[in-house]
Amino acid sequence: MNDSIPSAPPLAVSCTDLFIGFLKVGMSGFGGVMPFARRMLVEERRWLSEREFTEVLSLSQFLPGPNIINVSVIVGSRFAGPVGSLAASLGLMLMPFLIVLVLAALYARFDALAAVRGATASVSSAATGLIVAMGLRMAQPLMGTGWQVAIAALGFVALALLRLPLLWALLAIAPVSVACAWWTRK
C-alpha cells in the first residue's frame, strides 16, 4: 500500500488514533491549523519526522484542495489506507463543522441585536485585514523576481478587478508562470 511518502513507517497507528489525533488538531487553531498539525504529527505523537512532514506538506500544497485536508488524507493513507484517510479527515472536520454551524445558527437567531451585528461586521473587517496581511507576507519573497511580480499582479487584476472566472484565469496564467519557472530553473 505505502510505497508513498519517504520510507515505510515502523509505527502502528490505528484509525482511532488518526481520528483522535486530527480531532484535536481541528479544534486547536483559528484561521488555519497547520502549525498545530505539525506539532501533533512531529512533536507529540511522532508519527512523522520533521523531514517527512515537510514532504507531506509540500505535496499537500502542490495538489489542489484545502491543504490541511490533504495532509490528513496523506497521513491517514500512509498508516491505514483509505479508511485511515477517511478517519483522519473526518476527525479533522467534525468539530469545526459543527461549531461553525452552531455559530451560524446563533447569528441567525440574534442578528436583530445591534451588538451582534456590530461585532460580526468588525470581526469581518479584522479578518479581512488578516487575509490582506497574509497576501502581503507571501508576496515579499517574490519581490526580487520580475516575472513573479508580473504574474502575481496579473492574477490580482484578473480576479479582483476584471472578476474573471478562476478557471479561465488559471488556464491562461498558470502555464505561462510554470514556463517562466522552467526557463529560469537553476
Binding site: P96, I99, V100, L136, G155, S177
Partner: protein, 175 residues
C-alpha cells in the same frame, strides 16, 4: 428527488475543489463571484457575515464554504458544500500520494511548484480586495482592516486576539 439547489452547490464547490491551489483563501474571489454575483444565493452583507462566522470558528479556513451551504439549504446544504469542496481534491491527493516517489525530484515538479507560488499570491491579494469591497463601507471599518493588516505584518500577536478585540469594539458600537 434531490433539490436542484443541492446539485448546484455540489457542482459549484466540486469544481472549485480542483481549482483550490494555495488553499481555500485563494478561492474567495471566485466563490464570491459564483455565490453573490451569479447564483444570487447571498448578498454582499451575508457573504461578509459568513466570512466573519467562519473566521471566528476554530479549524481549517475552508469553513466559509460550510456557512454558505448552510445559508443556501440548511444543515444538508452545509454538508453537501463541505463534502463537495473536500472530496474531489482528497481523492486526487489519495491517488497521487501513492505514485509521488516517482516524480518527487523531477525538475518539472519544482517548476510547477515555483510557477504556482506567484499565482497564489495574486489570488490571495485578490481575496483581500474582494473582502474589503464586500465588508468595509464606513471609514471606521476601513481603519479596522488597515490597522489589523499593519499589526499582523509587524507584530507576532496571535490572529485570534485581533478578532476578539474587533468583536468587542463592534459589540460596543465603537467600530
Amino acid at each position: 428527488m434531490i433539490p436542484q439547489v443541492l446539485l448546484e452547490l455540489a457542482q459549484q464547490f466540486g469544481l472549485l475543489s480542483f481549482l483550490a491551489i494555495g488553499g481555500v483563501n485563494a478561492l474567495i474571489p471566485d466563490i464570491h463571484r459564483r455565490v453573490v454575483d451569479m447564483e444570487h444565493w447571498m448578498t454582499d452583507a451575508q457573504f461578509s457575515q459568513a466570512f466573519a462566522i467562519s473566521q471566528a470558528s476554530p479549524g481549517p479556513n475552508m469553513l466559509i464554504v460550510s456557512v454558505i451551504g448552510w445559508n443556501v439549504y440548511g444543515f444538508v446544504g452545509a454538508l453537501v458544500a463541505t463534502l463537495a469542496i473536500c472530496l474531489p481534491s482528497s481523492v486526487l491527493t489519495y491517488g497521487v500520494a501513492h505514485v509521488w516517489n516517482r516524480f518527487r525530484d523531477a525538475p518539472l515538479r519544482s517548476a510547477i511548484q515555483r510557477g504556482l507560488a506567484p499565482v497564489t499570491v495574486g489570488l490571495i491579494l485578490a481575496s483581500g480586495y474582494v473582502l474589503v469591497r464586500a465588508t468595509d463601507s464606513t471609514w471606521v471599518a476601513y481603519a479596522l482592516t488597515g490597522a489589523t493588516t499593519l499589526l499582523a505584518l509587524t507584530t507576532r500577536i496571535q490572529p485570534l486576539w485581533f478578532l476578539l478585540a474587533a468583536g468587542a469594539l463592534g459589540a460596543l458600537g465603537v467600530a
